[in-house]
Amino acid sequence: MDMLDFFPSSILQAADTSWQTVTIAQRASSAFRDHDLSGTIGYLLLGLLFTAGLLTVLGLVLIYAERKLAGHFQCRLGPMRVGWHGILQSAADGLKLLLKEDIVPENADKLLHLGAPVLSLMATVLTLAILPLSPTLQVVDLNIGVIYVTAVTSLGVLAILIAGWSSNNKWSLLGAMRAGAQIISYELSATLSLLVMVLLSGSLQLSEIIQSQSDGWWIWKSHLVGVIAFVTFLISTTAELNRTPFDLPEGESELTGGFHTEYSGLRFAFFFLAEFVNMFVASALIVTLFFGGWMPFYIGGWDGFNSIMGLIPPGIWFAGKSAFFIFLLMWFRWTFPRLRIDQLMSLEWKILLPVGFINIFLAALIVLFEWHF
């Protein structure tokens, strides 16, 4: 049994706060209803700018963070030259990638070679629009949010497969095949853990899933079921992101660079950016589903502590929690050795998937008999 079960439930009950969520799309439509044309266009532009800005900032910050962390994990300093402690390094790298010669292999399929990086980035950008970063900072709040995220991220596989095939290079094709097989396999257990959380919160809408955690995060409230779902989800998203220990698709000692071997310049940058922003999307989903999203950390009964925690704005809470999980993913990369392909497949089909099925059954029982707090 879970250790948390022995705690009286009052400790885990947080202070009751109701949150009013207003998305940018709602503001735009209410402005449209008031016949406020400039307001409507303004809010729509704001939504676009917000998504584009988020993409850029995430790209710059995450790439810098990865390089700096990689350095410190290996007892180096990481980038130090450009700006204070190398803080402008990613901007300089971005500029370099922009100015680099764009090489397309002679026998590549030109159209698909061009399209694949765009499709990859598109799959990522589409998810950014529905992430609830704070009660007021969300572009659209779809009532099918969770399935939308799974549907849109599954397009990334298509982009990778096409990139590998159109490059007309055997390493690229092998990398793409590995990536495809891996992502399709691990998507199953990721979706199963998502479904557990949907069962518990009774909604597919991301903002409502967060609202259902106002009296305690699901990781505390759902007994062991939530913890198992969290661990499965963490493992399978790491695999879906093609990050170490699951980075066989770009195993550099075997496949040079995997599916993006033949890409250079801006097109390579697109894949790179998509990979890093996907890491944020995965962390944001983990935070939303299991760790209360933008909710502050409350401890029941500790009023002084809770009021201090309540002072921190929800957006900061969300950013902080996501930053922690991004750090965790980067930590994995510099800690674990790469898996072998048969280990990878047996981990998914023989361990994670059966565990996921049992877990969803238990979750259904818990929800049916209302055993959770």
Partner: protein
């Protein structure tokens, strides 16, 4: 609204034709993705977001990926050979024409489009389309639903048997 429908519909039909016309199988598969996307857009216009997302998740995300896998593994190259009209092709053509005629007949006859009896737009927005679909699938249509799942199981077992037999 209507303009969006016509744009999506045109692109969908054109890309569906592209599936047939394209020489390279990979291009055919990509046109199919495009067509599915436009269909998803049309479903969103009809306020059934769930069906739209499932359309993209299942077809573009899973089935098309399988198609691409097979195309890439078998390394099918365009031959440039045109279709010969032998007996199986003629039979298939006949069946296709018959199906098309039957479906057109349905649309020409007196068929009711839009929300039906209890499933009005208000009911859908009140309970959410997922809740209603779930209730229909596990209530009224539970027997066909289970029959389909048995059919799929049979297909999976058949595929395994065929694959294993060739190995031996």
């Amino acid at each position: 609204m209507l303009l969006t429908f016509y744009i999506l519909g045109t692109v969908s039909v054109l890309s569906a034709l592209g599936v047939l016309v394209c020489r390279s199988p990979v291009y055919s598969a990509m046109s199919l993705v495009c067509s599915f996307f436009c269909l998803g857009g049309i479903y969103i216009l009809m306020n059934v977001e769930f069906v739209a997302v499932i359309q993209i998740l299942v077809y573009a995300g899973a089935i098309l990926v399988l198609f691409l896998f097979v195309i890439m593994l078998l390394n099918i190259v365009p031959t440039g050979e045109s279709v010969r009209f032998n007996l199986p092709v003629l039979i298939a053509f006949g069946i296709a024409v018959g199906l098309f005629a039957q479906i057109s007949g349905l649309f020409l006859g007196d068929i009711q489009f839009g929300p039906k009896d209890v499933y009005t737009a208000e009911a859908i927005s009140e309970e959410g389309s997922i809740g209603l679909i779930g209730r229909l699938l596990y209530g009224e249509f539970v027997l066909p639903f289970e029959a389909i799942s048995i059919l799929l199981l049979v297909a999976v077992i058949g595929a395994v048997i065929i694959g294993k037999r060739r190995l031996n």
